[in-house]
């Protein structure tokens, strides 16, 4: 197989049914947006963040410490992968995204572009 067919076969990133949708909180203040996402079971090296144009994609793969020969008897987390896509608004500065990951919680800080930050306008008394 040549490399070309390989590339052509790669499916477009779609919202397929095979992934879990992680719950998130999104908080906005004057300086930007903070996003918190719950991705329990995902080690730091299996977490992937991608910003492309105005799309933010969060993906993570669960890696649990499972003993050999274990048989699952009850599963509420039935899939091994998380995925969620957000559309970012224009006033956000995607070059300055800061990410932190601790104990299964991803914290993303996306600042607003300088021109979009709130300014106080002085009212002149004539």
């Amino acid at each position: 197989m040549s490399e070309k067919t390989e590339v052509a076969r790669t499916p477009e990133p779609t919202r397929d049914a095979g992934t879990l949708l992680p719950p998130v909180d999104v908080v906005e203040d004057g300086g930007g947006i903070t996003l918190y996402a719950d991705l329990p079971g995902v080690p730091k090296d299996r977490l992937s963040l991608q910003v492309e144009a105005d799309t933010l994609t969060i993906e993570g793969e669960i890696a649990l410490d499972v003993p050999e020969g274990m048989e699952a008897s009850h599963a509420e987390v039935g899939r091994p992968r998380y995925r969620r896509v957000f559309t970012l608004s224009k006033e956000l500065d995607t070059d300055k995204v800061a990410a932190e990951y601790r104990q299964g919680v991803l914290t993303l800080r996306i600042p607003k572009a300088e021109h979009a930050k709130p300014r106080r306008i002085d009212v002149q008394v004539m």
Binding site: D25, G41, D65, P67, A72, E76, G104, V105
Partner: protein, 143 residues
Amino acid sequence: MFHRSLFPSDLFAELDRLQRALQQGIEFGPSIRGVSGGFPALNVGSTPRTVEIYAFAPGLDPAAIDVQIEKGVLTIAGERKREGAAEGATRHIDERFEGRFRRVISLPDDIDANAIEAKYRDGVLHVSVRRKEAAQPRRITVQ
């Protein structure tokens, strides 16, 4: 809510959530423990030697998770506090669990209540309970 209209993805997130709820309801079928048991989500598995419980509880202080076993019933309890509640901030999406939680699992009869290990890693509490020696499968030699 002026800001909400700037986030069209909000609507898709809601639709996604609905779709997920529908799918999970159909695929797994209603169990005696309910379709989804709340927070933290639990996965349970077993091996001939142990019973393994995985609680998906991200963002907790491991010291503050209360894991108890009494008469073959395992209880996982604790509290998750909300982060980043800054003054004057707008909350656009609010899906993550917040508050006190408690989940109870009844374990099989053959477990050894003194041989329990609990680890917390990447936001998952993994409790491993050993089965009693006597209950483990043995091969009997035919004389």
